[in-house]
Assembly symmetry: C2
Homo-oligomer: 359 residues x 2
């Protein structure tokens, strides 16, 4: 690649180009465009590394793009950013709609910024690919945070699949880290499996709750409580305070039913009122203690490695499946075998063998 | 296959064989053995179809065998039994150890037999492949049922993986059905994912519970309660009766938190005392109503089709994975890519692409 770029630069010297231009104007036009693009990718990368937010935004747009011409650029951007990534803490934040995620992130983000940290806020919301409505939503939801020069707010990438959205979000994390963001907050709206995806790309998982909302069972059922490193009961103010304190005890009891975590971290239950900025610094203290603990006992590094492995395997396996079923011969035979199954003329295992023999 | 057998029979005519024997005694020995085996598979199959339990047992042993020479025989047995299968109801039974599964199955099985039904009891227990201890265990656990000529009790197939055990169990179901068993009870000891496997091969899922055992949360957490078509609280007798009735109300309340089932069936909570034979016929009534309902609304047929699809996909996908990772080139590259990941020199998605390019 650098070899190629040098050649183009050499060609672009005034005399060389004008000479070539007379011979083949189309080629020169192409080369000029190529150089412009190559330059802009290089510019983008150095912009990102120089902590320029406009460059960061544009670079993320390229990564999120499904256009063929952006794929190679995206690869190059990520490759150049990778050596500068991984120097952050990644915090996942989830909770049902109405729990006050935006207010919490606004309040929490402002505290971190007041301590001199650069904070990026990303969202994982596979459903936003349909409505496309969250862009404006996110910006207005956090109206104070968005004005902070040390904050970067980016709504969910769109995508057909959670896997696609997750990949783009993971790559966006790399870019944000390369741009010097030391705290990455990843919010999920809790649709489908998105919590699991966010849990698989963050170091700390924070579950926001309301007192008496009656969604305890849902949280347990869907395995979300099990993932939490901390449960924070929001809106613990005024008339709500007493109920919130009771809920805190309830959650503490429920948390004790789970086996100890691999991280050796006992999940903490906390109270806060995001809208009144109460309890926020206590949450940050707990999170800081968590990071001290897991960095000291090696779990932090271990978990990031495991997450890399998880996404590697996940990507491979989903592609193996999609490629297998995309084969027209498989499609045809699958139809035949499903019919035979419906007529009790074969077993699923026999049918599977016939299908696997196609490859 | 029939073509081949005919030739062998022809050769086995006294004169033909003695003639060949002089020329090539080894070949004749081989042919005689071949005929013996072919005969015994045919004999086995007709034994199974004639409801001979000894034949059924031997046929299942062939299916469970990992020996290469049994694979073709197993295929033939299943193929011949398939047209006679699928005429049963399949009931999954689960519950924690100590809940009284064996006592319940003994009591329930005897009721069904008294109504003239033939009952097969199978177990799915992937852990039994280690201890191999359940064979004697199962037989002694149900000491009355085992004496009934219309009962057939078969412990869990052994196997390295739950997938392997599940496959063998599903094939055993086919054989039992071909042997005229109209009710198949499949018990699982609730280790790991075995409930999900049993749920995926039965029409009705019965969850046995004790009052005040405190495993409600476990059941919810692991998604087992969600699978239940009926929750039966066992040991509802004597001093326990009051607590059992309270538990019944609790479970009813919990069940209402779940969305309606695709089957349109509202799960029922019942009490019983298996050891005292109390409440057993009420359970059978509920189960009978279930089958009337789902056979009338088409869900019964739909679910069996979906289960076939599930096992087909499951088999394909697990084989795709195992074959991919078994490739020595993949193994080598995987090691390389995992190292690159650990050193932050690549992303999981980039690494996955490199690995997928190997194929």
């Amino acid at each position: 690649m650098p070899e190629k770029k040098k050649n183009i630069s050499a060609l672009n010297e005034k005399e060389g180009v004008s000479q070539l231009e007379t011979l083949n104007p189309e080629a020169v036009k192409h080369l000029k465009n190529f150089k412009k693009k190559a330059q802009s990718v290089d510019e983008l990368i150095s912009g990102v590394l120089n902590k320029n937010q406009a460059s960061l935004s544009r670079a993320i747009t390229i990564i999120e793009s499904t256009a063929q011409r952006h794929q190679q650029q995206a690869k190059e951007i990520i490759e150049k950013c990778l050596p500068h990534a991984n120097q952050s803490i990644r915090i996942g934040i989830t909770g049902v709609p109405g729990v006050g995620k935006s207010t919490f992130i606004e309040s929490f983000g402002k505290l971190l910024i007041s301590e001199g940290k650069k904070v990026a806020v990303l969202t994982v919301d596979p459903s936003s690919s349909i409505s496309k409505g969250s862009i404006l939503g996110d910006k207005t939801r956090m109206e104070d945070l968005v004005k902070e020069p040390n904050a970067f707010i980016r709504p969910s990438a769109s995508g057909d699949t959670l896997g696609g959205v997750a990949r783009k979000t993971r790559e966006t994390i790399i870019l944000c880290e390369a741009a010097g963001f030391k705290v990455i907050l990843i919010e999920t709206v809790g649709v489908g499996q998105s919590e699991t995806a966010v849990h698989s790309m963050t170091d700390f998982f924070l579950l926001l709750k309301l007192s008496g909302a009656g969604d305890e069972l849902q949280g347990i059922k869907r395995g979300i409580m099990e993932m939490a490193d901390s449960i924070v009961i929001n809106k613990a103010d005024g008339d709500n305070l007493k109920a919130a304190k009771m809920a805190k005890n309830e959650f503490n009891r429920a948390l004790h039913l789970y086996p100890p975590k691999e991280s050796d971290w006992a999940p903490k239950t906390l109270l806060c009122s995001a809208i009144k900025n109460e309890g926020i610094s206590e949450i940050w203290e707990v999170i800081s203690t968590y990071f001290e603990t897991v960095k000291a006992n090696g779990y932090f590094q271990h978990k990031r490695k495991e997450q890399n492995k998880f996404w590697l395997m996940q990507t491979i396996e989903s592609r193996l499946k999609s490629e297998f079923y995309a084969n027209p011969l498989v499609k045809k035979e699958l139809e035949k075998q499903l019919k035979a199954l419906d007529e009790n003329k074969t077993t699923p295992f026999e049918a599977a063998e016939k299908l696997l023999a196609i490859e």
